[in-house]
């Protein structure tokens, strides 16, 4: 397939290449912004040749809320609750990244119990997010039991968050120096109970979808992302690790107490959709391992270091990064005098991972585009912010 720059025909905005030498006529079609398979308000403009995808151009901005601009008018504490609303499936991780930056800036330490709470809650949310991936991946491929069972398993964790943090989705739980409140006494027992249930469900999922030949055939060899390209596009998380790049912030630049726990980072070989699926399934098991270890050695003591009446960051730039279920989320704060930031920039994993969509889709059928998009596991509010 030869790609030559557009000369003879006017293309819609965003399309870069025209292909000549074909008798068939290409056409353009809109997928989204109201399409259930785009996981939100993502609009994809497809350029098709028959059923084959020639080029995909994503259009963003349908759920832009200007969070970065709003942050400039808010104190650091107030900004924390906005980060919940970027990637709603990893709000704890987003809070965590901002807290890391503030703690670094102000020299706030976190007590041991606080760090344990953070790790437990983070890992629970990683499982929760991957369960949603499983549910949507199955549903996108037409296996509707998956969406029911995936969300059922997720409900155990959501219910625990509801009890501990007070909210099911936008938890707003972490604060500089720890978390907003202590966990209940029976927290570790409840986490263990949830882990047991999720573990049983994972075995079921393997029977339901992982062992299914049809799923395997629909995902294997589909949407191959070569290693070099994944790095060049700035992909992170399971999309990057699916292409065989061993990069996980929890291992490479451990924050919190991650260096105290034993877990492995699953890697893919082929870089196709199937690898990305398997990696997420394995990551849930690894998270269960971390939770098991953390519950065993859950310490007592204070959950939060002494609260400050106001958080005034020293002038300068501060950075915090965490590994969310979708990849690296980092926040960069330019602080000025006072309680409000001068500028905050967030690097969201979904946006960078979306860049890999076009190279992965080219040459595949429309049905495969759904598979590929599902394995990117995009969260649209995280791209637009």
């Amino acid at each position: 397939m030869e790609l030559v720059p557009a000369t003879d025909q006017a293309l819609p905005p965003g399309f870069l290449t025209a292909r000549s030498g074909r008798a068939t006529e290409e056409y353009f079609i809109n997928m989204g912004p109201q399409h259930p398979s785009t996981h939100g308000v993502l609009r994809l403009v497809l350029r098709l040749d028959g059923e084959t995808v020639v080029e995909v151009v994503p259009h963003l901005g349908y759920i832009h809320r200007g969070i970065e601009k709003q942050a400039e008018a808010q104190t650091y504490l107030q900004y924390l609750h906005l980060t919940d609303r970027m990637d709603y499936l990893s709000s704890h991780h987003n809070n965590h990244a901002v807290c890391l930056a503030i703690e670094k800036a102000m020299g706030i330490g976190v007590p041991e119990r606080g760090e344990y709470i953070r790790i437990i809650v983070d890992e629970l949310q990683r499982i929760q997010s991957h369960l949603v991936f499983f549910a949507c991946f199955g549903a996108d491929l037409g296996a509707l039991t998956c969406i029911l069972q995936g969300f059922k398993a997720r409900e155990y964790i959501t219910d625990l968050f509801d009890a501990v943090c007070g909210s099911r989705l936008t938890m707003n739980f972490f604060r500089p120096g720890g978390s907003v409140r202590d966990v209940p006494e029976d927290f570790t027992d409840r986490v263990r109970a949830v882990c047991g249930k999720v573990d049983a469900m994972l075995a079921e999922f393997d029977r339901l979808l992982t062992g299914n030949l049809i799923t395997k055939e629909r995902a294997r060899g589909i949407g191959v992302l070569p290693r070099a390209e994944a790095i060049a596009l700035g992909c992170t998380g399971p999309v990057l690790r699916g292409s065989g790049v061993d990069f996980d912030l929890r291992k490479k630049a451990p924050y919190g107490y991650y260096d105290r726990f034993e877990f492995s980072v699953p890697l893919g070989e082929a870089g196709d959709s199937w690898d990305r699926y398997l990696i997420r399934m394995e990551e849930m098991r690894q998270s269960l391992r971390i939770l098991e270890q953390a519950c065993r050695s859950f310490p007592g003591g204070p959950y939060r270091s002494k609260e400050k009446p106001a958080y005034r960051l020293p002038t300068g730039t501060w950075f915090g990064a965490v590994e969310t279920p979708r990849g690296v989320f980092s926040t960069w704060i330019v602080a000025e005098k006072g309680e409000k930031p001068w500028r905050i920039h967030s690097r969201s994993p979904s946006l960078a991972n979306l860049a890999a969509l076009n190279p992965m889709c080219v040459g595949h059928k429309i049905a495969d585009l759904i598979t590929i998009l599902a394995t990117i596991d995009p969260v649209i509010p995280d791209m637009d912010r």
């Binding site: 029911l148 059922k152 007070g166 029977r207 979808l209």
Partner: protein, 148 residues
């Protein structure tokens, strides 16, 4: 793909599908394991967790008194400007709370106001059915009596 591979594909695919369908069938015949709440049928018995963050409420004691002093710290803490503390003076000339205005429609239920209050005068309620028929229903005055 040889004919043999093709056949193993077809039958293997069907077999693995039946294995998956067994899971579906299991849950179809075991409805006890489901976690779905039968809302609104169970409205009477449905209890939220104690920490649950519903709309902001200001608890009043039996005499109709509340603990708010009108210090406006919650108003400053709110990221969305959902709270207006309108103060007034009582007969003795002391500054007291006049009206505690709370706009539910712009509230994100973040509980930052509750954290900021030094007197425990407000807390997050248990009500989660926040829809109203009229926009005016979102403008709430949380204190029952003025000037206390």
């Amino acid at each position: 793909m040889t004919l043999r591979e093709r056949f193993s594909m077809v039958f293997g695919g069907a077999l693995s599908m039946f294995k998956g369908m067994a899971v579906t069938g299991h849950w179809l015949s075991h409805p006890k394991g489901i976690v779905t709440e039968q809302y609104p049928e169970n409205r009477k018995t449905l209890a939220m967790h104690p920490n649950f963050r519903g709309e902001v409420v200001m608890p009043h004691d039996a005499a109709g008194e509340h603990k708010c002093t009108g210090c406006s710290l919650c108003e400053k803490a709110c990221p969305n400007g959902s709270i207006s503390v309108l103060n007034t003076r009582n007969l003795a000339g002391k500054k007291v709370l006049g009206k505690y205005l709370y706009r539910l429609d712009s509230c994100t239920l973040c509980a930052l106001c509750v954290e900021a209050c030094p007197f425990d005068a407000i807390r997050m309620g248990q009500n989660f059915e926040l829809a109203r028929y009229d926009r005016s229903g979102f403008e709430l005055t949380l204190n029952q009596k003025e000037g206390r």
